[in-house]
């Protein structure tokens, strides 16, 4: 079984006298057949981590195991891996057949074996009848299929894919995403997939590894990352549009923010005390217009707001709402405590610059330690206040 294991992998570069740590003490344990996405903003170390697995980069410290072999110091060709590259990297001087069979020919496979494997791979990626073409005669999607077929024929222990869809147009991207899922089912191989697109990561992977500044933030199944992010970074990175963050202070019976407060019993969460600075995280879909509060088991008190910008998406409307005296903001990413992004039912007749009231689904409120960014809880237990006691826990457990 080809498991993959990274132990304390660290990569430092010397950049004009300054030491840059691209990967910082990375530990990963990946099972056979898993589809793992490395996701994170550019420069987070996801590509470098993959390169240490591929052998294109030798880690400064730490070890890489594929199966039971320590491959840390093996050249790429001896690791039993195949890779699909962001820029597709087909050899422009070879036709499709020669590109796909390149690795096999280097390893002196018998011709009939090569033919058999190339045909099967071409079949899987639906490239039949194109084996004689040159890369420049093909479309972007076709080239990407050739690159994937080139990886398939090797029957590798581990597939590495470095943003393979990044250079394709949006429509083709969605299509190829489905193809990759089908492929994974068919091949039953470990796949490591690097992307900066969290949506791709969510839809494709068994587990997502979220990276930032060279270190692993969380590795978990997509929905766990979504529903129970380990820290502020994961919470903000996973999910589109991003989670709302509001800074507040813990008091004896509530979390008080600049514009509203949420009833809260500090004793219900370990490690929280009165006076702590916390950050409340609420996803846009967990905020509702005040009129709908009857449908929510455990909702907050009504919060006064004014609609600012509306972005109708068809299946929902993104409403930017200003709290208190908040000024109209030009920036969507603004971390201001005066702004909330709310996802609203498309049939509602909400207009811009309208005074409204909203409620928050307490069952899906995330609480983070502002200083460390670590998650404290992913649901607010009902406090002894006037709010109705509900089964909020049952709701948020999945």
């Amino acid at each position: 079984m080809a498991k993959l294991k990274l132990e304390h992998v660290t990569k430092r570069y010397d950049d004009q006298g300054e030491t840059v740590t691209a990967v910082d003490d990375m530990n990963l344990d990946i099972d056979h057949g898993e589809f793992i996405c490395f996701v994170g903003p550019s420069g987070c170390g996801k590509s470098t981590t993959m390169e240490t697995v591929a052998g294109l980069t030798i880690p400064t410290e730490g070890k890489v195991y594929i199966g039971d072999r320590d491959v840390t110091n093996l050249p790429p060709k001896d690791r039993g891996i195949a890779m699909v590259f962001q820029n597709i990297a087909l050899f422009p001087h070879m036709d499709v057949y020669d590109n796909i069979s390149f690795g096999l020919r280097l390893r002196d496979y018998p011709t009939d074996e090569i033919d058999r494997r190339v045909e099967r791979a071409a079949d899987i990626v639906q490239l039949e009848g194109m084996l004689g073409r040159m890369p420049e005669e093909m479309s972007g999607g076709q080239r990407q299929r050739v690159a994937i077929a080139r990886a398939i024929v090797r029957e590798p222990d581990v597939f590495l894919m470095d943003e393979p869809l990044a250079n394709l147009d949006a429509k083709l991207k969605v299509h190829m995403r489905t193809e990759l899922q089908r492929l994974h089912k068919e091949l039953d191989t470990t796949i490591i997939y690097v992307t900066h697109d969290q949506e791709e990561a969510m839809t494709l992977s068994d587990r997502i590894a979220v990276l930032n500044s060279g270190s692993l933030q969380q590795i978990a199944p997509p929905l766990t990352c979504y529903n129970e992010p380990d820290n502020l970074f994961v919470a903000g990175f996973i999910g589109s549009p991003s989670m709302n963050f509001v800074e507040g202070t813990v008091e004896s019976d509530a979390i008080v923010t600049k514009n509203f407060s949420l009833a809260f019993d500090p004793a219900s969460v370990d490690g929280v005390g009165v006076g702590d600075s916390v950050t409340i995280g609420i996803r846009p879909e967990d905020i509702y217009p005040g009129g709908l509060r009857g449908e929510i088991a455990d909702h907050s008190a009504l919060i006064d707001a004014r609609t600012d910008i509306l972005e109708p998406m068809g299946d929902e409307i993104f409403a930017y709402m200003l709290l208190g005296e908040g000024e109209t903001s030009m920036s969507q990413e603004q971390a201001s405590s005066d702004q909330l992004l709310v996802s609203i039912d498309p049939d509602s007749d909400i207009t811009e610059d309208e005074d409204v009231q909203v409620v928050i689904d307490r069952g899906n409120v995330h609480l983070f330690d502002t200083a460390s960014g670590e998650a404290l809880t992913h649901t607010l237990e009902a406090a002894w206040s006037g709010d109705e006691v509900t089964e909020s826990e049952a709701e948020s457990d999945d």
Partner: protein
């Protein structure tokens, strides 16, 4: 474990170990490993001889190296004070004895510099003209271009032969007309220092203008054609377009080309040896070749001075042209 990993493990041995060792070198180690062949070659054929030449130039002459005596910079001192002139072939001197034209043309140093300056100046002008022609679009450009650059590819010995045959006293048809104009000596032309120098400069211009044209053409072709449309719209004449766009943009290229050619021109030897002889037209390289079998110390000193002059010329041109000439 996949089939492939099984396949890998079947290969083993020293070669695999060596390959693996190479693959795991850092970029820096790998870079220096791959540069070993270049270093060895340049070390053996360039660096070692260079140091050795300098060493030899510090010793009194003795061919067999058994009785060599260290003389320090005496060889250089004598070279510049005229003490070595008696070892040079013909009536050649290293520095000119006086400021007359004859004395100048008898001085290896002056002849080399005259040759370099005059030939490079003409080659640059003619090369620029040729490049401007070749940069145009016209029918049959391919053939015209080939015709114009062919002289550059002609072996030096054949170039020499051509001009030898042109000005040879027996069959050379070109001597009488030019002698009538007073440019050449009417008889024994190739053994007349002034005439032979003139012919050799012409021969070099014929061959090497083409090379200049090639270099300048390369610069011309990298100019953005859109600039000329802008100029035309602005009402610039052809001459103004050349003066305001073409020339400033190819000036750096011309600088590099002049630098490169000057360095080569200072090495002049083969064409002299074929057309005339080193005793008639004494260049610095000529002097090295003429003396290295009998007067090693003198020869080495001349060789080293030649290298130093070229180095100085390179530095001078770089300073004059600015940084971008490198």
């Amino acid at each position: 474990m996949s089939a492939e990993t099984g396949r890998e493990s079947r290969r083993s041995g020293v070669l695999v170990d060596a390959m693996r060792w190479m693959e795991n070198l850092s970029d820096t180690q790998y870079a220096y490993l791959l540069l070993i062949p270049v270093f060895v070659l340049l070390g053996v054929v360039a660096l070692y001889p260079l140091l050795r030449t300098f060493e030899l130039s510090l010793y009194a002459t003795s061919l067999d190296l058994t009785s060599r005596g260290f003389v320090g910079i005496d060889n250089y001192v004598q070279l510049f004070t005229g003490g070595k002139n008696r070892f040079l072939p013909g009536g050649t001197t290293f520095l000119p004895q006086n400021l007359s034209l004859d004395a100048m043309l008898n001085s290896a140093l002056v002849v080399t510099i005259i040759f370099a300056v005059v030939s490079v100046a003409f080659e640059t002008l003619i090369g620029l003209g040729q490049a401007l022609i070749l940069d145009q679009d016209f029918y049959g450009r391919r053939w015209i271009r080939a015709a114009i650059i062919i002289p550059w590819a002609v072996p030096i010995v054949i170039q020499g032969m051509i001009f030898f045959l042109m000005f040879n006293s027996n069959v050379g048809f070109a001597t009488p007309p030019l002698a009538d104009l007073g440019l050449l000596a009417p008889t024994n032309t190739l053994n007349d220092t002034a005439s032979a120098t003139f012919i050799i400069i012409v021969a070099d211009i014929w061959k090497t203008s083409a090379f200049m044209a090639l270099l300048i053409l390369a610069g011309l072709q990298s100019i953005d054609r859109g600039l000329y449309d802008v100029a035309k719209v602005a009402g610039a004449s052809k001459w103004q377009q050349f003066k305001l766009i073409t020339f400033p943009l190819i000036l750096p290229t011309i600088g590099v080309a002049v630098l490169f050619r000057s360095v080569q021109a200072m090495r002049i030897y083969g064409i002299i040896d074929t057309v005339s002889s080193c005793t008639v037209v004494p260049s610095l390289s000529c002097m090295v070749v003429a003396t290295f079998n009998t007067r090693v110390g003198t020869s080495a000193a001349i060789a080293f001075v030649t290298a130093a002059i070229i180095g100085a010329a390179v530095m001078g041109l770089i300073v004059w042209q600015g940084e971008d000439a490198i």
